[in-house]
Symmetry: C2
């Protein structure tokens, strides 16, 4: 099999299909989403069987239990896929929306119309449910999609692809509007990310290594974040209980997510009062600390039981994705903003304060994709932001930033409504 | 001189300055813009002298008259620079604007805040006035700028740079917020476009060759258009006089601009009636036609005097930037949309019609950066669109599309306002 030609054929068919999907009306796109759901439902047993085969193969080739857990579909995950399709169908269609239409001195009216991007390439690892999530968002935003899942999920993804193709056909949309790459050859990814004539945007979902490789080698825009070193800053004027609750929730509500707090900064004036209480709760959640000298002095004086060791420079950069928290006592808001500017991955940061000026300064000067006041970093999420769904999170500043929903999969063109105006 | 180190030093200083400029308030940025104007005004004679030296050198090295015309400053162009500075100072500041703040079921409020991009690199050819235009827009949008002008304008640009530096100092902003590359070594461009750690976006302004080279080699986002093959489509239901006027204005109001019409499409039902009259006026403007067989038949039957020859496939792609117009008779709106989809450079297209359904279909299905109804393509321009000023036009779909004003030099981050919300 010639991978280059195979991928270019996929690309060329996706480009052709995208012209049809971009002009499809909302009803037709929703009908396709619901029809895909029907076909998933009616092929439930075949889907579970294909997934079981993937699981058996993966288990035989020694994949670890975390990987197997991500690979497994099961009835509940299929239900979630069906629910997701219905939710995306229920979202407002972003395509065709005209905004900001204003009259100009020349008499023309100028505004912007939201339009699909074209063809989206999604590269992901084990989870086969991403196939449906990604396909449904791309489709609703009027784009064609090329999906490249993990090789370990090949049979599951092929089974899902059959349901997608059947649903598209039911709604009269081109089969190639959503294509699943059928080869497990790694060269396929290299081709997918270097054919700008066929693919407009790449969304990689997976480990940092995968995303770094793709960003480095892609010749089209990549919507991505590499890691989430999120900060909670407790300001001089923080409300004590709120500060403790937010720090604990941001760190412990889930350890493995990108919007989990990895670093806690405390204003010096509040460290002695608040840090021991926070450390106590971290201890109950089995979280170990990496502390600066000042934090250590406070904790030692309070005789806390919480496990800890001295922080190194690396700790300020770290995304632990586990029960570890870096803790630093800073002199004031300026020092907190400077620390975040230097070490953050620009994902999500929050300030706990009742001081209006400090809150607004933090909001304006912290240069991250989500900046919060008095809320847990765990809210940085497409569903929590009301986007309806999320295809990923971007920490870049170009095109789209923060959780990426339907709007992030579109662009805007200028529209001009005239009545015969000439330029003079 | 080690160009790589020189450029990286510029970049590192620009990055540091951008942190200050991004946090500067509107008053301070406007004060800097007006102070730059004062220094331009007070150094008028030095500026004209430097420009004269550039002109003498250019003339001695045999630059053609069009190049010399672009290089010349003169009193009127300096006045225009001063006026431009005042206009940009008068524009609303995009930075800090919060939009779409909505309450979520969790109790948090979520919105987006407009923020600077960071460091913008501008690469341009002869016109020294671009130095002021680009610097003022970057500064107002809270960005640092690195400007690389043409080597033939080196002395003029250095003189302008001195006024900029003095104006920044007057307003208490860092001198490195705007830096002019002082070496004329071409390697400097290669460095500028491949240091993503220091530069966030590149805006090239100049010939197609320059822009193609930069787009190919840049490792950061390039805001650009390569060419403007703009179309006027006269629909079945067009008003006759409006159709003639728009076709003539779009082609002849200026020949050398990117929003000038290069192709005219006519619905078959209107060709015999309208094409001879249009050809007559094109003839008066010394415009020669490249025509399809059907257009030739109509023109021959009408015995028109307008110079013409048979169009080749290349004509449908051509941006003539001169007194030539490609003309094609198409069967209907669908054929017009298909032709534009195949041959357009996706800059600007207009339909002349009184049919609402056709107008809306054209608006939606034509995938260009500006799509118009009943208006001349010549309106595709930042000033005409009410953006206040324009740093360039983008025909890409990522980040920004169409004329690029202040907003195109910014990004948006999510802001979350809470009152102690935790994720559960």
């Amino acid at each position: 099999m010639d991978i280059r030609n195979y991928m270019r054929d996929l690309g060329s068919r996706a480009r052709a299909a995208s012209a049809v999907v971009s002009a499809a009306d909302t009803g037709q796109k929703n009908a396709a989403l619901l029809a895909i759901g029907k076909h998933i439902q009616s092929s439930r047993s075949a889907l579970l069987q294909a997934n079981q085969q993937d699981l058996d193969n993966a288990s035989n080739s020694g994949l670890d239990s975390a990987m197997l857990e991500r690979l497994a579909l099961g009835e509940a995950r299929i239900d979630a896929m069906l629910e997701g399709l219905e939710q995306v169908a229920a979202l407002a269609d972003p395509v065709g929306e005209i905004s900001g239409l204003r009259c100009m001195p020349s008499g023309i009216q100028v505004g912007k119309m939201r339009v699909p991007l074209g063809v989206i390439g999604i590269i992901y690892e084990s989870r086969p449910n991403v196939t449906i999530d990604a396909a449904s968002l791309c489709l609703k935003a009027g784009n064609a999609a090329i999906l490249r899942g993990g090789s370990e999920a090949a049979l599951s993804n092929a089974a899902i692809a059959r349901a997608i193709t059947a649903g598209l056909a039911d709604a009269g949309l081109p089969a190639h509007a959503v294509q699943v790459v059928e080869t497990t050859d790694r060269a396929a990814v290299g081709e997918l990310i270097t054919m700008p004539e066929y693919v407009d945007v790449i969304v990689p979902r997976g480990g940092k290594g995968l995303i770094e490789r793709i960003s480095r080698d892609a010749s089209v825009t990549v919507i991505k974040h590499l890691d989430g070193n999120c900060h909670v800053y407790i300001d001089d004027d923080a409300e004590a209980q709120m500060a403790i609750d937010i720090a604990v929730n941001a760190k412990t509500q889930r350890f493995g997510t990108c919007n989990t707090a990895e670093s806690l900064l405390l204003a010096q004036s509040r460290a002695a009062e608040l840090l021991p209480a926070i450390a106590e709760q971290m201890h109950e959640h089995n979280v170990a600390l990496r502390v600066c000298d000042k934090a250590e002095a406070v904790l030692a004086a309070a005789n806390t039981a919480c496990a800890r060791q001295a922080a190194t420079e690396d700790d300020w950069y770290a995304e632990y994705l586990g029960p570890i928290l870096a803790v630093k006592v800073v002199s004031d808001l300026s020092a907190a903003i400077a620390h975040i500017g230097q070490y953050s991955s620009r994902h999500t940061e929050t300030i706990v304060t009742n001081n209006h000026a400090n809150a607004m300064r933090f909001l304006r000067e912290v240069d991250s994709s989500s900046v919060m006041i008095n809320a847990s970093t765990r809210f940085a999420d497409g569903f929590e932001y009301g986007l309806g769904a999320e295809i990923g999170i971007s920490t870049d500043k170009i095109h789209v930033r923060g959780p990426v929903g339907l709007e992030g999969l579109t662009s805007q063109k200028f529209v001009v409504l005239g009545s015969g105006q000439l330029r003079s």
